[in-house]
């Protein structure tokens, strides 16, 4: 399983890197152009592209953070199964909170 967790964590990092750069780039352009939050929401609501963009980011962040937290906790005095369980709880929490944020942006 360790090798698949390794692949998922490196893969999710690869996915997140360009998404973060695009997100920051878009934010800079939006702020420079003086777009209000209503104008931004007007562009994102109902957009399949932005739903997929931020949905993918939330998924990658949940996977990446959950596996990373598991690895860090596995080296703590906590019992090994607890590290896996806490990593999974963190991933599910990130998925739920991130999913709510994406829904608020595009729904």
């Amino acid at each position: 399983m360790a090798v698949w967790l390794f692949i998922l964590q490196r893969g999710s990092a690869l996915v997140m890197a360009p998404l973060v750069l695009i997100h920051i780039g878009v934010m800079v352009v939006a702020v420079r152009n003086g777009l209000s939050s209503e104008e931004i929401l007007g562009r994102t609501q109902g957009s399949v592209f932005w739903a997929a963009f931020y949905g993918l980011f939330v998924l990658a962040a949940a996977v990446h953070g959950g596996i990373g937290l598991r690895a860090a906790l596995a080296e703590s005095p906590l019992p090994r199964p607890a590290a896996g369980a806490l990593g999974l709880v963190f991933a599910l929490l990130a998925l739920w909170l991130g999913g709510r944020a994406v829904a608020a942006l595009v729904a």
């Binding site: 360790a2 090798v3 698949w4 967790l5 390794f6 692949i7 080296e75 090994r80």
Partner: protein, 239 residues
């Protein structure tokens, strides 16, 4: 303390114990092993420690010197003492038997668990294998085969300190050199052996193993190679 005397603190005991201070005459070209030997012969015959070759070939005299893992036979006092002070302790990350002597059996068990044995694909009936030293695989193997099992990298590794089951840099470096050996026939088994929760993927690439290896080997690079090989094997369904 005059310039002609060293203040030396040496660990006495096992897991429970304490440092004991000795005053040792400073000599020219004196090694840390010379200091330990002088203490045992002149002051404290009960002091337990290991050494054999005294020239950096056997790997049995490794200890923590002022908090860093070193071959004591190749560490000159004037290079490692801090203000005439030496603190000498048993190797980190290994159970202490007595004083400066550690139990290395767990360290060698990890070589076994990492499938560090050579599995030949030929026998005496076959011709001697022709190995081109210029091939990338042989160059990678050659870069890692000078390990003499001293345990310095194992003592330097923080991941071993945090997870005692972690196979460690020496065993994984051995596994990598065998993966790069075209005469070996147990690649798949070995990749499985190093792919567990305490295998190559647990390495954080801190590179302490490389920093402290007295033979200037780079186990971090070997472990990175194993990570690449295991990923490729997993994606091909070969693990």
């Amino acid at each position: 303390m005059g310039k002609d005397m060293l203040s030396v603190e040496i660990w006495r005991g096992a897991a429970e114990g304490a440092f004991r201070r000795y005053e040792v005459p400073a000599r020219q070209s004196q090694t840390v092993l010379d200091v330990v030997t002088w203490v045992q012969r002149e002051l404290d015959p009960g002091l337990a420690y290991r050494f054999a070759c005294r020239v950096g070939m056997c790997g049995s005299c490794a200890m923590m010197v002022n908090g860093r893992p070193r071959w004591t036979c190749r560490s000159h006092v004037d290079r490692v003492a801090e203000a005439g002070r030496l603190e000498i302790a048993p190797l980190r990350n290994l159970p202490v038997i007595k004083d400066l002597a550690c139990d290395m059996s767990g360290f060698f068990d990890k070589w076994d668990r990492a499938e560090g044995r050579f599995h030949p694909t030929a026998n005496r009936e076959n011709d001697v294998a022709a190995i081109d030293p210029a091939t990338p695989a042989r160059a990678a193997a050659n870069a890692g085969i000078e390990c003499i099992n001293c345990g310095i990298c194992h003592a330097a590794c923080d991941v071993v300190a945090w997870n005692a089951d972690y196979l460690g840099p020496a065993a994984l470096n051995r596994a990598w050199t065998l993966m790069m050996d075209t005469r070996d026939g147990a690649g798949r088994e070995r990749l499985r052996a190093v792919s567990g929760d305490a295998g190559c993927h647990a390495c954080h690439s801190h590179q302490s193993c490389m920093t402290y290896c007295p033979n200037a080997l780079n186990p971090t690079a070997a472990i990175a190679g194993l990570k690449r090989m295991t990923v490729k094997a997993a994606l091909k369904g070969e693990l």
